[in-house]
């Protein structure tokens, strides 16, 4: 199963607890991939410029409703994570943390090391408000998660992949939100699917959670 993580979005952090539970109950090989962005809200005007929009008032009311709901959902996510809602709203550039995940893969990291890294990365970014948008910040996260940094500078300078190009390919493959899970070419967006994924990994035994 391939897991797509976006270090700028709380749902990827929240996914960890359910994913750890799944891994403790089912044997599964995981490939971890970072995402730099998500599709997000695709709502938009499909009218040509200059054309009056008869639904302008409706759209404004709906956007306001959506904003209220998103604010409340942020509060709920933060409640589960034990952080303040203001901490959850912090804007993070996930570039260096994403490189860190690629570094783990390059170094043949074990499952627990990925869990430690992702947890440390989110905690540093959102709970501590630390710098995670530089090589220095990345090294702090790697040290916090007790993962090696020897060779990292060389890797970043000479071997690191083009994450922007990788992001394009991810979108082209149909993965557009995080966390995402791809199993047997089937894409699942959102941690809410993990019960069904677990059922699939158990070879569809028992009643499906649907």
């Amino acid at each position: 199963m391939t897991i797509y993580v976006n270090f700028s979005e709380l749902p990827s952090w929240l996914m960890l607890a359910s994913l750890k539970r799944l891994c403790s109950e089912v044997r599964v090989e995981l490939a971890w991939k970072p995402m730099l962005s998500s599709l997000g809200n695709v709502a938009g005007s499909n009218l040509k410029p200059g054309v009056d929009d008869p639904l302008e008032i409706y759209k404004a009311r709906r956007a306001d409703a959506r904003h209220k709901a998103a604010k409340r959902e942020n509060e709920r996510m933060c409640e589960r994570l034990g952080i303040d809602p203001a901490q959850g709203e912090k804007k993070i550039n996930p570039f260096y943390l994403s490189l860190g995940m690629v570094w783990l893969t390059n170094q043949g990291a074990e499952l627990q090391q990925y869990f430690n890294y992702v947890e440390a990365a989110f905690s540093k970014a959102f709970r501590d408000g630390a710098d995670v948008e530089s090589v220095f910040g990345l090294k702090v996260v790697l040290k916090e998660s007790e993962f090696r940094t020897a060779g990292l500078d060389y890797f970043l300078a000479n071997e690191a992949p083009d994450l922007d190009a990788a992001q394009e390919k991810i979108m082209e493959s149909g993965v557009f939100n995080s966390p995402a899970f791809v199993i047997a070419d089937e894409i699942f967006h959102g941690r809410e699917h993990l019960p069904l994924i677990q059922w699939m990994l158990k070879r569809n035994r028992g009643i499906p959670p649907v």
Partner: protein, 227 residues
């Protein structure tokens, strides 16, 4: 204290369709009566518009590639859950105006719970089999009649009080902060999407313990009526 649960639905939403039986299960589990409301989505306003012919070929579209990506995934996602439940969920050929079926829901509510449930079940079931033109007033009358509702006066209601009530309600719903379906509301707290059912249960149980995470983890009991 009497538990009160409001649920907002739209017949043209595949996600609301597959959430229906799990939602009914809450009535059995908590001994409550759900207060159903129509939330008529204007999908074209935020996801663009498109039409397909009988072969599935797109004949008209104002959607951006990003909107197509989101729409195609949504149908595929809903369909995989529907198939596991034995439900038929055929992709729609256009974006429907579901307001007539929504006004039908308001009428069926007046007729009592048995009629309302029959109307909701049958309208969902047949619409997603592509057996209903929910933009045809006569079809809505037939649906209400088949659900055991007295339809005398419905056509006047559809063009008068029912339409006014529906349109007014849509504005009020948005102003309360509800914008998608299914939305569950308890004590003014709203939860959008069936992935929130663990939280809805937690809320109905008195918020004991920590707030649960979202999940599609519903196991339908054998006594839950199939669609």
């Amino acid at each position: 204290m009497t538990l009160r649960l409001e649920v907002y639905i739209d017949f043209k939403s595949p996600y609301a369709f597959i959430a229906k039986d799990a939602t009914y299960q809450l009535e059995q589990e908590f001994g409550l009566e759900i207060d159903w409301y129509p939330l008529t989505l204007n999908i074209g306003s935020y996801l663009g518009t498109a039409k397909k012919d009988n072969s599935g070929k797109v004949t008209e579209s104002s959607r951006s590639p990003r909107q197509w990506l989101a729409v195609k995934y949504a149908y595929k996602d809903a369909r995989r859950y529907a198939e596991l439940r034995g439900l038929t969920l055929k992709g729609t050929q256009k974006i429907w105006d579901s307001s007539l079926s929504a006004i039908g829901l308001l009428w069926a509510k007046r007729e009592g719970r048995v009629c309302l449930k029959a109307y909701i079940d049958d309208t969902y079931d047949r619409f997603w089999k592509r057996e209903l033109d929910i933009e045809d007033p006569h079809v809505i009358v037939e649906q209400l009649h088949a659900s055991g509702c007295d339809v005398k006066g419905f056509e006047e209601f559809l063009n008068g009080e029912g339409r006014d009530s529906h349109d007014r309600l849509q504005g009020e719903i948005l102003d309360r902060g509800y914008y998608g379906v299914p939305t569950y509301v308890i004590d003014g707290e709203s939860y959008f999407g069936r992935q929130h059912l663990p939280r809805v249960r937690w809320h109905l149980e008195g918020k004991v313990g920590a707030l649960p995470d979202i999940a599609y983890d519903v196991i339908l009991s054998e006594s839950t009526p199939a669609s």
